[in-house]
Symmetry: C2
Subunit: 233 residues, 2 copies
DNA sequence: TCGGTTAATATGTGCAGACATAATAACCTC
DNA sequence: GAGGTTATTATGTCTGCACATATTAACCGA
C-alpha cells in the first residue's frame, strides 16, 4: 500500500468500479475499459486493477473473457457465500450452550436412496447414528448419519461422548462433499425427537462427503422450527 | 505460466498444499511453512505461493495471520458458495419452459414485519405484487414482493408482462442485500396457488435489497415441494 | 516480576516488466 | 463470397523486488 495515502489499493479500485456499475455509468451488459486503461486512469499498476476486477468477476458482478474484454453482468448470478460451521460452533455463536445425546447406534445396510447417493453396492454395511443436538437444553437439530466403516481409522471413539462430526474432521482425510438444503414435513420419528407436530415444516440440510476414492459419510440434519440460513450479498 | 512446463502455477501449488493437508502431512491445527520456504521448495516466487494460500484461506481450509503464520483450520468452517440466479434462468437450467402470471397488484402499507425488515416508517405505502412462476406450466414458485415506489424510475412497466425481478436488475441501482432460507408450512393462500395441502412443508427464500440509502424491495419466494438448493464444497 | 517499549517477522499489498493463452479480427486464397 | 490461416489484443499469470502492517517475541527499567 502506498505510504500514508488512503486510496489506490485494489479494494478502492473495486469499490469505485462497483460504484460506477451501481450508478449506471456502466449499465448491465456494457463493456468497461481495459485493465490498461483503468490502470492509467487510477494511476496504479495493471496487476492492481486485475486483482479488483477478478474479485468482482468471482462475485458474479463482472464477466471477463480474454481478448473479448470485461462487461457488466446483464443478469447478475449473485453468488452467496454461506458458512457451514460445525453444529457446536453454530449453537455457541448464538450465545447458547451446546450439548448432544446419542439416541441410537447400529450397523446396517443403508436404504437405497442413501446407498445410491454414496455410490455403494446394495450389500455394503455401514454404521448408523442418531444424535440429537441441544441448544440450552432445547432440541436444536436431529442428526441421522451413515458412516462408512471401511475408511474410518481404528479405534472408533464412543460417539455418545465425542461428536461424530468433530471426530471425523480431526481423524479422516476428506476430499469432496456436497450440501443440499430443502424443506420436509417432520416424520413421526423427527416429530417425537424434536417435540413438534408430525408433518411440521422442517428445514433439512443434507451433506455427503468422500475421500478421493470412497464415501465417508452421509448426514441428514432436521432443524427445529424457526431455523434460518442467512447471508449478506 | 512458465513456458512448456505444466507445473508451477498457483493452482498446482494450491493442489499440492491441499493434498498435504488431506493426507495429514499437515494435520488440522498444524502450522505450515512460511510463504518464503514454500516458494523456495516449489521453485516459484513468493507471490505465487501467496495466491495459492490466499485462495485456500478464503475457502476456509487455512487460517492466516500476519507474523503468526499459516495453520490448517482445526474445525474448517466450510464456505459453500450458492448461485442465486434469476428464476427464469433457474427454470431454464432445468430444461423447462418458464412462464409467470401476475396474480395481484396493489398499493398498500406493508405489514409490520416487512416494514421493519426494510427499515420503513409505519405509514410508508408500497407496491405489492403476487406472482406465480411456472415451469412447463406447473407451479414452481409463488413470489410475493413489496416494492418501494420512491426509488423506482418512471415509467413503471406492466408487471403482468415484465418480470419484476428482471426489470429491477435492469433499471435500479442496487447496492446491498441479504438472503435467508427457511422452511414453513404453506399458508392457505400459498396452498391454493401452488396446489398443495395447507400446512405442507415449503422451502422459503427471502431477499431484501437496498440502494445506499433506501430499501428497494422485499421478496418472499415459496417454492413448490421438492425444491432443493444444492452446492459442491 | 510486572508492564511497557522496541525489534523481529510472516503476511498483505504494491510496482514494472514479461510471456502465455484464448478469442476475435483481419487477411488471403480459391 | 466461403473457408481457412495469421495477426492482434485483453486477460491470466509469473517473477523479483519493495514496503506496509499486524503481531509476536525480546528486551529493559522500575
Amino acid at each position: 500500500m502506498r505510504a500514508g495515502v488512503g486510496i489506490g489499493g485494489w479494494e478502492d479500485i473495486r469499490a469505485e468500479v462497483l460504484r460506477r456499475i451501481r450508478v449506471r455509468d456502466w449499465p448491465p451488459g456494457a463493456m468497461i475499459p481495459t485493465e490498461e486503461e483503468l490502470a492509467t486512469e487510477f494511476g496504479v499498476a495493471r496487476a492492481t486493477v486485475n486483482r479488483a476486477l477478478r474479485e468482482l468477476a468471482v462475485a458474479g458482478v463482472l464477466e471477463r473473457r480474454r481478448k473479448a474484454g470485461t462487461r457488466v453482468a446483464a443478469l447478475p448470478v449473485r453468488k452467496a457465500t454461506l458458512d457451514i460451521p460445525v453444529i457446536r460452533q453454530e449453537v455457541e455463536a448464538r450465545g447458547q450452550r451446546h450439548s448432544f445425546r446419542l439416541l441410537s447406534q447400529a450397523e446396517a445396510v443403508p436404504p437405497v436412496p442413501v446407498a445410491s447417493r454414496l455410490g455403494l453396492g446394495p450389500e455394503q454395511r455401514m454404521i448408523y447414528l442418531e444424535t440429537l443436538h441441544l441448544a440450552d437444553g432445547q432440541p436444536f437439530v436431529f442428526e441421522t448419519r451413515w458412516l462408512n466403516p471401511l475408511v474410518l481409522p481404528a479405534p472408533l471413539p464412543d460417539f455418545a461422548t465425542v461428536s461424530a462430526n468433530e471426530w471425523l474432521v480431526a481423524h479422516v482425510a476428506y476430499a469432496l462433499g456436497d450440501i443440499a438444503f430443502s424443506a420436509a414435513g417432520a416424520t413421526p420419528r423427527e416429530a417425537a425427537v424434536l417435540g413438534v407436530a408430525e408433518g411440521a415444516a422442517l428445514f433439512i440440510t443434507e451433506r455427503t462427503t468422500w475421500t478421493a476414492e470412497a464415501p465417508i459419510t452421509a448426514v441428514r440434519l432436521a432443524h427445529a422450527p424457526g431455523y434460518r440460513v442467512q447471508t449478506l450479498v
